[in-house]
Assembly symmetry: D3
Homo-oligomer: 188 residues x 6
Amino acid sequence: MPLVELHLLQGYGAEEKRRLGEALTDAVRLVVPADPGAITIMIREMASDQYMRGRRSRSGAVALPDPREVVRGYLGAMERRDLAAAQASLAPGFAMQFPGAPEMTTLDELIDWSKPRYKFVTKTYERFDAMQSEGAAAIVYCFGTLSGEWLDGVEFSGIRFIDRFELEGGKITRQDVWNDMAEVRAKA
Amino acid sequence: MPLVELHLLQGYGAEEKRRLGEALTDAVRLVVPADPGAITIMIREMASDQYMRGRRSRSGAVALPDPREVVRGYLGAMERRDLAAAQASLAPGFAMQFPGAPEMTTLDELIDWSKPRYKFVTKTYERFDAMQSEGAAAIVYCFGTLSGEWLDGVEFSGIRFIDRFELEGGKITRQDVWNDMAEVRAKA
Amino acid sequence: MPLVELHLLQGYGAEEKRRLGEALTDAVRLVVPADPGAITIMIREMASDQYMRGRRSRSGAVALPDPREVVRGYLGAMERRDLAAAQASLAPGFAMQFPGAPEMTTLDELIDWSKPRYKFVTKTYERFDAMQSEGAAAIVYCFGTLSGEWLDGVEFSGIRFIDRFELEGGKITRQDVWNDMAEVRAKA
Amino acid sequence: MPLVELHLLQGYGAEEKRRLGEALTDAVRLVVPADPGAITIMIREMASDQYMRGRRSRSGAVALPDPREVVRGYLGAMERRDLAAAQASLAPGFAMQFPGAPEMTTLDELIDWSKPRYKFVTKTYERFDAMQSEGAAAIVYCFGTLSGEWLDGVEFSGIRFIDRFELEGGKITRQDVWNDMAEVRAKA
Amino acid sequence: MPLVELHLLQGYGAEEKRRLGEALTDAVRLVVPADPGAITIMIREMASDQYMRGRRSRSGAVALPDPREVVRGYLGAMERRDLAAAQASLAPGFAMQFPGAPEMTTLDELIDWSKPRYKFVTKTYERFDAMQSEGAAAIVYCFGTLSGEWLDGVEFSGIRFIDRFELEGGKITRQDVWNDMAEVRAKA
Amino acid sequence: MPLVELHLLQGYGAEEKRRLGEALTDAVRLVVPADPGAITIMIREMASDQYMRGRRSRSGAVALPDPREVVRGYLGAMERRDLAAAQASLAPGFAMQFPGAPEMTTLDELIDWSKPRYKFVTKTYERFDAMQSEGAAAIVYCFGTLSGEWLDGVEFSGIRFIDRFELEGGKITRQDVWNDMAEVRAKA
């Protein structure tokens, strides 16, 4: 106890069912502090001829990608400066907010803005957290540390950062960034 | 479709069932982009004499508090400097990480550390995000802006911040903070 | 086999559950010629805090009256010439079609039309059949025999008739009548 | 809400499941005026080794044909005077009642009876209504208009009719007919 | 896994539900060697207006007594020679088979038969096993040791015995007894 | 009513599902004296990607053999003195108790013990009863009559016996035997 039965149209793969099962387990544990071994998920699948709503049979919507994977792909593409790949993860209307920067909407703006700030930055991730908002947006948080090289060639590392992403339909609509770069520069 | 049936021992209140229903709905939407009006939650409750595991009847665990409310309570208590109330929200072993600070474990340390930095700070919250980790910890993120007064009497406002909390058993075990204070001071 | 589980919000009375159980049993038997003793109906009821669709709890719609009873009430009122009571069973936009008559929309028209045809008519019912159309309308058929008195004082009886009714929201929207009056008069 | 789960032995085709789903949806709407989009049907199928009643596994009964189709086939065969095909739709003990006729039990009787009445008749159908009675009989109503030719060569059309059929085991056991032929002839 | 859902009409008490839950758990374990903590029983109860079979609502049959308790009561009554109480546990047609005895049908016969064999016997029970046969009969086995006094005043103890009972409708229809009395007497 | 739904991971064969269905039916009838034709078993199977407990997918445990068959195999092997085959049915720690014998733990002991008692024995079985104990052990009872030949060449038959077996993990851990041999010898 508790037991969750999820009734689903056929067409979702084992990986998608695993993601559903994990998300449902976690949803229950957010409220009920049950022994994990006692939280059971059973997924019941129906062929489209076994399901009817409003007197019409239905097909299941194609699953969304794991938003963590979308974000990981985007961040990896940015790190290796593959702007085309990074752009492919973004939804129209994408906006991003970096510390001390104006809100930017294109990756080129971001590149230009960062040029006078550091030569390059690499992220080491401590953790990705993903959740669905109460609306259409999925939310991903990731945090860890930045390392890289300032413009003067001095290396830095261990600078704390956190990114927050919103995604809709599997595409990133918003990125918010906080980090300790200014804190570190101020101390330098 | 999808339909979630949650089988639960009796004893949870309407508010707790609402939280479960919302969390389960959101869990499904993290994977399946279904029309919200088509995501149905049905909660089946059993008296303890209707449930047996391992040949023994069972009672339901007492529900956890909403971790957003725990965090809100803690942050409110800190803001009005009610340290006793704030302390009551913390688990043994609590630790916190602020920008440019060493890891601290007591509220007194935090008060001492902040004294040479600002007179006071007030938080305006844009949003609270809560989720369960894959383990025992619930996670809460909140972000918004800081306003307050520097030591020199100059006021500040609109400084971006984000807090991340971990909770176990309804108590806060960890707080991580990022903000643009250094960025703003550097510009000042 | 087959077994029908009906999941329903609380608030329906025993009589309404009986009507649902009978209609579901008959629906199954329209397709599967199962032994009646093997067709099982189980009605699961949920309080409104046990049900959520689209992240909102819901209340059940008030049950419709049995359309057979609505029709019986209307026909009884007409027979005893209680036009006010009969009118109360009719929806705005009501229309009726009698043999050899133009389409009529008011009970007064019907009274006027029947005056030169017979003094009075009494219906003996053999059977009422009710069903739901594929849309919003419930449909009721009733048939049996007419008896009464022609204008010349001659009595008649045993004249076959059938009435078809459509109802929406528990009110009659349409009545179609067929009978053997002309056949009988032609023979007379 | 409401949600109907139908538990069924395997062996029914998509068309039969569609008919079951529609009949169950309509059964619910006869009592509960729910938003059609909120009435859900889920059909659970079991292999025969997943079902046992009275300690014996069972096989599902072969589905009945759609009674509307049986009636359509019969009426079409009658119209094109294919008496053998029409006869194949009739159950032993079949009886029919036409306006002004004695009860007849064979198609030959009907043909003989109609000969002095009209040369031929064609039916235009406005609608077929099908339902299961509370017993073994399925009931079909169809109505519309007759056109054809009187014995004197004069054509007619637009004459209202309604037919009522009872079927058991997919065969027609009874036909009752009402129409305005006498009404029309009386006016002619 | 496995999970057993038992759907039951209301009216059974907590003790009866406990017996059902235990019997269902054991039934599963006879085939599936699951971790006991993973075998879950959920009992769903329906009011009589929530259940219909063959278009009729039903009431649940009154529960049978625990056959172990019936047998314990009978054996206790016999031991204290309360023949009226013992008789009350027996069904019409009761028969019993003791070692070396003819089949007997009345308690008086048994008393008479035992008189020349021992003064009295007391049973010490090691265990009662109860199960349902594939038919109407419940079966109870109990075994342990006999102690008592032979006719010559010599005491005995530790003589192995086993009794097998069949019950229908909560009454004992048959008792079969095996023991080592002859073995022990032969050695004496 | 009652209806038992068994939710099971895939991988059990038709024979194993039959055994489960029978055991569940009998478990219900031990408490509820329902009309057998009204006790329904529905087995729901899930692929391993449709089931998760404690956030991990699971596989079903391999079914236990029917303990009756294990016992039948053992008794058959003993009767034809195939000690290797009989031994294969025994668990480590096996013990057996025969009338008038010390507890024995090996088949060789048993053979030695029986040699001075009879030439051979053949069992005719009236019935096998199997059940699961409340713990890990399955229990089998079988009874009937013994026939064979005493050491002096005299044949015997019709001697009542009963055997009780305990099994764990499909292997026999204990055998207890009662019979009327001494009774019969005493009379001889």
